[in-house]
């Protein structure tokens, strides 16, 4: 409420509003001065100053307090229409009025400042907490493979005689896996900073979607562990003028994600087609467990990780996907299938070239 009012009034209008409030209440009291005593007017004006102090800055409030004192003195304290005050009682009343108005103004203002500071503190604490979570998941993701590499190399160096050949081979393979994992995370962080820098300019060139899909699948061969991937490419799919590298990363992250998170029996499928208005429609879906409905809205958020997940990850993969798709002017949607599984639908507008117009030659 107070924020709302503060936002609404600039400094200048705060002065205008508080002065006119004082003047109009004073005018009202003046009109009714036959029915209310001048001491009651003082209370009314004091209430008004307090109200103003609740919403406005200190300077307009002090101005309102002074103005109300002057107005009360001039128009209401007998003798009226002079600044002179004759009875000792009235001098005392006026002084007290002035002091109470000022104390009121300053105290209310101080309370609001304390409140603001407390608010700022909560916001800062929340940011810190978020930052902590990020840092934790990130350092976990980076430190785990580094710990593996350091530990395994130490063991290999120092315990050479005690290790069987099979054990040494196993340690070496762990080092290799850890480095690949580390490389992937660094790649994610680099992509994220490319996005955050705001300098990401898609370099559009003609893309053969068939080539792109199989290129990505060949790169990911080792991650699948025999999980089947079905590819459905619409016949006579045209070439699309898009950024091959970005699109490759998008598809790579989606398929990799699916391969890592879905259960062993599940199947991944990729569909590519063109919409009537020449948009590329890419769908990556699986027959896994899908996403918890209440978390779907968050999965594209940076560093967001599903609550009950045990597999590693920084929570960057899908936010990079979204960022890259949007950098190319497209959209991405996630929904759960009717019976099972998750479906990512990418829709990117693009220039197209039909293959039949190009490849004819005898």
């Amino acid at each position: 409420m107070s924020n709302f009012l503060l936002h609404k009034y600039t400094k200048k209008s705060q002065y205008i509003v508080s002065i006119s409030l004082i003047l109009s209440v004073a005018a009202l009291c003046y009109a009714l001065s036959d029915f209310i005593e001048y001491k009651v007017v003082a209370f009314l004006l004091l209430v008004l100053v307090s109200l103003i102090a609740m919403f406005f800055d200190i300077a307009p409030v002090v101005v309102a307090a002074c103005l109300s004192a002057v107005v009360w003195n001039y128009f209401f304290i007998p003798p009226r229409f002079t600044f002179a005050i004759q009875s000792t009682e009235n001098i005392l009343l006026f002084s007290m009025y002035f002091i109470i108005a000022m104390v009121n103004a300053v105290l209310t203002y101080k309370i609001r400042e304390i409140e603001k500071e407390a608010n700022r503190k909560t916001v800062r604490e929340n940011t810190l907490k978020l930052y902590d979570t990020l840092l934790n998941s990130l350092s976990h993701e980076l430190r785990t493979p580094i710990a593996t590499i350091i530990g395994a190399t130490d063991t290999l160096q120092e315990e050479k005689q005690k290790l069987s050949e099979a054990q040494s081979a196993e340690l070496l393979s762990e080092i290799s896996k850890a480095s690949i994992r580390l490389n992937r995370q660094v790649g994610n962080l680099l992509n994220m900073s490319r996005l955050e820098s705001g300098f990401l300019q898609p370099k559009k060139d003609w893309c053969d979607i068939n080539e792109l899909i199989y290129d990505v699948l060949n790169q990911l061969k080792d991650s699948f562990q025999h999980k089947p991937v079905e590819v459905h490419i619409k016949e006579n799919l045209p070439l699309f003028k898009l950024d091959y590298g970005l699109l490759e990363q998008v598809l790579h992250n989606l398929v990799y994600n699916a391969a890592v998170y879905i259960p062993k029996y599940a199947v991944i499928s990729i569909h590519a087609s063109v919409s009537k208005d020449n948009h590329l429609i890419l769908i990556v879906e699986d027959t896994g467990n899908g996403f918890p409905e209440d978390e779907i809205a968050h999965v594209f958020e940076k560093f967001y990780r599903l609550k009950n997940t045990h597999a590693g990850g920084t929570g960057l993969g899908l936010s990079i996907v979204k960022g890259f798709v949007e950098a190319m002017g497209g959209t991405i949607r996630l929904e759960n299938g009717e019976d099972y599984g998750a479906r990512f639908t990418i829709d990117i507008p693009a220039e197209v070239a039909h293959v039949n117009d190009i490849g004819h030659e005898s």
Binding site: S179, N183, E361
Partner: protein, 227 residues
Amino acid sequence: MNPNAIEILVIDDEPQIRKLLEITLQSNGYKVREAPTAREGLALAASHPPDMILLDLGLSDESGHVVLQSLRQWYTRPVIILSVQSSEEAIVTALDLGANDYLVKPFRSGELLARIRSVLRSAATEPEEQLIVSGDLQIDLRLRIVKKNHEPVKLTGTEYSLLALLARNEGKVLTHQFLLRTIWGPSFVDQSQYLRVYVAQLRKKIETDHNAPQHLITESGIGYRFV
């Protein structure tokens, strides 16, 4: 080819990478010389011309592109670029300046050794060798005949020119722009849709599984390579 006679110059400012390369290369029978800076690298290349050079793009005293440019004024043997920059522009620039191949760090040692063998092999073959054999594929450049599993493959004129150009540069990445300029002409440099379509057509004819190509390899965002 006897690797014992082959000398490789490594120009890289990272001691760890130099050590790694030294061990990997020596254990495979190559002789290795090292230079940590562009200046020393150029001096060593001039005083003891190696059989090939591994060049890092991010040297401390001079960019690898500049080193490559001055090397190419007289050095005709293979140069492979090693780089942590995976940016396509940096790689395309290096290839246009005359690099034979590139590897983005981190790379697998097996991959590096395969690339080294491949560029050394193509450097050793006669520039106009008449018959290129790669796995199940035979390309007779004199008779313009392509055979897969000893069966003739029917190619259109453009398909043949594209395949022959890539095959003559076996193992080497040819950039999109280079392929377009050479096959279709200078005005087609930006018309990469032609290249996409013809590569797809060629794959259907010469690859066993055109979706898992063994001969025409995509170098994403950069070009194609025949192996």
